[in-house]
């Protein structure tokens, strides 16, 4: 017999089969987890859009309620904006909304309990009293629950106004909880989000790029060893801590520095977001710069170019697509950030004109309002629609990253 080492061809074959079998299992597991993840993500997106699209066609008036006027009133529909102005007593005469010259008398359902004691409103009586109120006052506009209207109700019920696409995308007022008619104008929120995010990038880009160049080209390896972890540490700080720091330190500084009436501004948000986007920008840009082949740099230096000329003319042009990817990833980070922005921007839903005014962003709006929005209501669905918009924004950003890095491969 030969040595004790197993050389039996059958055993070798068996081992190989075992190995192949295990490999198959691992392959299958990987495939499965990949498939499950993709399906889950797809389902989330479908869910998001399904809930969001429900907004259009939902009534701006709370479910189960109607707006009603006296039968002598020729008006039979009012836009949500007009309704809000009437109930805020900014419009006080019917002729301002195209009706007769008559004082508007606003009536909310709860007011019936001020007019009559509760015992006198039991059962049918409540409906009769409401009927009387609307029938007797010529200038009335009443906001009533549908269930208390008698079949013989002597008032004219205004046409139900649906949330329209143009109102949502181009409306300038965000009053999602205004009763009786909610306003869902998302334009100030979208502009606020974009303004704060691009402000952040404008601040973060020069700093991020200089740090990336310094770390990859100029810094001593020992310095780099200390700096890199410190910068990565920045990414580990919870965003709410940034927000708190912003509210207590950055906001008063901005208010005093610019002599503003209020310090919670878009600029405060941009500054905080810039700090938060820095680690992403620095890390990605530095990696891109470091991929410049040594040969190219040495060739440039060998031709007599200075270190700076080499960085400016050789290294940067070579890594420009990687730097672009860093910028776009930074923007993506800034657009989706919630907590820090919620705390420092003042969350005022106005059309932003400068960075020195309070703004309200989409993520902050969703975070602040979803908790109390009744499920299935127009408010709830409008928040999902905002989520869809945010999704489309970030999708566009990641597609452009893909496009930019794809272009680099072609160049090579």
């Amino acid at each position: 017999m030969d040595s004790g080492i197993k050389t039996d061809p059958f055993v070798i074959l068996k081992n190989a089969e075992m190995k192949r079998f295990i490999e198959k299992i691992i392959e299958g597991l990987l495939k499965l987890s990949g498939g499950v993840t993709s399906i889950v993500i797809l389902l989330i997106v479908v869910f998001l859009f399904k809930e969001g699209v429900g907004l259009f066609g939902n009534s701006t008036i709370e479910n189960g309620y109607v707006l009603s006027v006296n039968t002598s009133n020729p008006i039979d529909r009012l836009s949500p904006e007009q309704v809000k102005k009437i109930f805020d007593e900014e419009v006080t005469n019917w002729k301002e909304v195209g009706g007769p010259d008559e004082e508007i008398q606003v009536f909310r359902f709860e007011q019936i309990f001020d007019l009559y004691p509760e015992e006198e409103l039991e059962g049918e009586k409540l409906s009769l009293r409401l009927n009387e109120e609307v029938a007797q006052n010529r200038g009335i506009i009443a906001f009533l629950p549908e269930r208390y209207l008698l079949p013989s109700f002597k008032g004219k019920i205004l046409k139900d106004e649906r949330v329209s696409v143009s109102e949502f995308f181009f409306g300038k007022e965000w009053f999602p909880t205004s009763v009786p008619a909610a306003q869902f104008g998302m334009l100030p929120l979208l502009l606020g989000t974009l303004l704060v995010s691009f402000g952040a990038i404008a601040i973060a880009l020069p700093f991020g790029l200089s740090v990336a160049i310094y770390l990859s080209e100029i810094a001593h390896p020992r310095v780099r060893k200390i700096f890199k972890p410190v910068i990565e540490l920045l990414a580990g700080i919870p965003s709410v801590v940034y927000g708190f720091f912003g509210l207590v330190v950055v906001v008063p500084l901005i208010q005093k520095g610019f002599g503003l009436p209020v310090g919670e501004t878009g600029l405060a948000g941009s500054l905080i977001l810039a700090v938060m986007a820095l680690p992403t920008i620095i890390t990605v840009a530095e990696d891109a710069i470091r991929t410049t082949p040594r040969v190219m740099k040495e060739a440039s230096l060998g031709l007599g170019a200075t270190h700076w000329q080499t960085i400016w003319r050789v290294v940067l042009p070579y890594s420009v697509s990687g730097i672009m990817a860093a910028v776009v990833l930074g923007i993506g980070r800034a657009i989706g950030e919630t907590m820090a922005v919620l705390m420092v921007t003042g969350n005022a839903a106005v059309m932003p004109t400068t960075l020195l005014e309070p703004v309200r962003t989409i993520p902050a709006t969703i975070a602040a309002e979803l908790g109390e929005a009744p499920a299935g209501s127009a408010h709830y669905e409008s928040l999902f629609m905002l989520g869809c918009i945010l999704f489309v924004l970030t999708l566009a950003i990641s597609l452009s990253v893909e496009f930019i890095s794809g272009k680099k491969r072609v160049n090579n």
């Binding site: 109930f87 309070p358 602040a368 929005a373």
Partner: protein, 268 residues
């Protein structure tokens, strides 16, 4: 082993478990009450969670909580929903919460009427000189729309009118205190418990300026201070036996002492 298992089994059956859910305003109070209640009644188990008044009441309707805490009265609709489900709901006031209107300590204005407050928060009055202060822009701070305090201030002070377009909205009362203390022209509203020396509380008049009252626990208790809201517990009548011991405890002198410690106004 068997003895231990039996012992465990018997204690488990004796433990009275109940769930309380709802308003974040009531949350610190109820948590404190539950802690102290469980210390004196070792056999009972009370779990308290927040989420908002609306969340609590809908949990009560679908049966996932035994008591709903609410910083507003149950809405007519919600009551109807419970009736439609063939149940009846009971209401208990466990404490009062007073809202103080606060400004920056540098502000010279000391008092405002309800009408002036309403016009400030709807955006009609824009400068402090219109209400007897310095020539300074008014910056009103509000809570977010999801907060019960937002709705209460809107109903009580603004008589259901909407806040001005683009009002500053803060995610928490602490943030309002912070912002008002560092913004000269600011005005905001906070729970009495949050008052500190960094902000100045205003006296408020609800009778057109005849009588101004400063916000304080004493004034809230003798009902002279107007911006006060009750804090409610709601439960279904069929659960009465289960929840009454805890509610009685909250209403007892010991429980009401905790109410004052937290900074709310006791019922009795």
């Amino acid at each position: 082993m068997i003895a231990i298992a039996l012992l465990l089994g018997s204690t488990l059956t004796q433990i009275q478990a109940q769930k309380i859910k709802g308003s974040d305003t009531c949350l610190p109070l109820t948590q404190k009450e539950a802690e102290s209640y469980m210390k004196s009644n070792t056999k009972s188990m009370v779990t308290v969670t927040g989420g908002g008044s609306g969340v609590g009441i809908s949990a009560l309707i679908d049966g996932s909580t035994d008591i709903a805490m609410s910083s507003r009265r149950i809405k007519f609709d919600e009551k109807m929903k419970i009736q439609d489900a063939g149940k009846a709901v009971k209401e208990v006031i466990v404490a009062y919460d007073a809202l103080a209107v606060v400004v920056n300590p540098q502000n010279k204005v000391n008092k405002l009427t309800r009408e002036q407050l309403a016009e400030i928060f709807t955006g009609k009055i824009k400068n402090w000189k219109e209400v007897g202060g310095a020539d300074l822009k008014i910056i009103p701070y509000s809570r977010e729309t999801s907060s019960g305090t937002y709705e209460f201030f809107k109903t009580s002070v603004m008589k259901n009118k909407n806040y001005m377009n683009g009002i500053m909205s803060m995610p928490a009362t602490g943030a309002i205190v912070q912002s008002v203390s560092q913004t000269p022209g600011a005005i905001g509203y906070i729970g009495l418990a949050y008052l500190n020396k960094n902000v100045k509380a205003l006296s408020v008049s609800y009778d057109g300026g005849k009588k101004y009252v400063t916000p304080s626990v004493a004034n809230a208790m003798n009902k002279t201070y107007p911006i006060v809201r009750p804090l409610y517990y709601y439960y279904l009548t069929k659960d009465q036996k289960k929840v009454m011991p805890f509610i009685d405890y909250v209403l007892s002198p010991v429980g009401q002492k905790i109410v004052s410690e937290i900074g709310y106004v006791p019922v009795k």
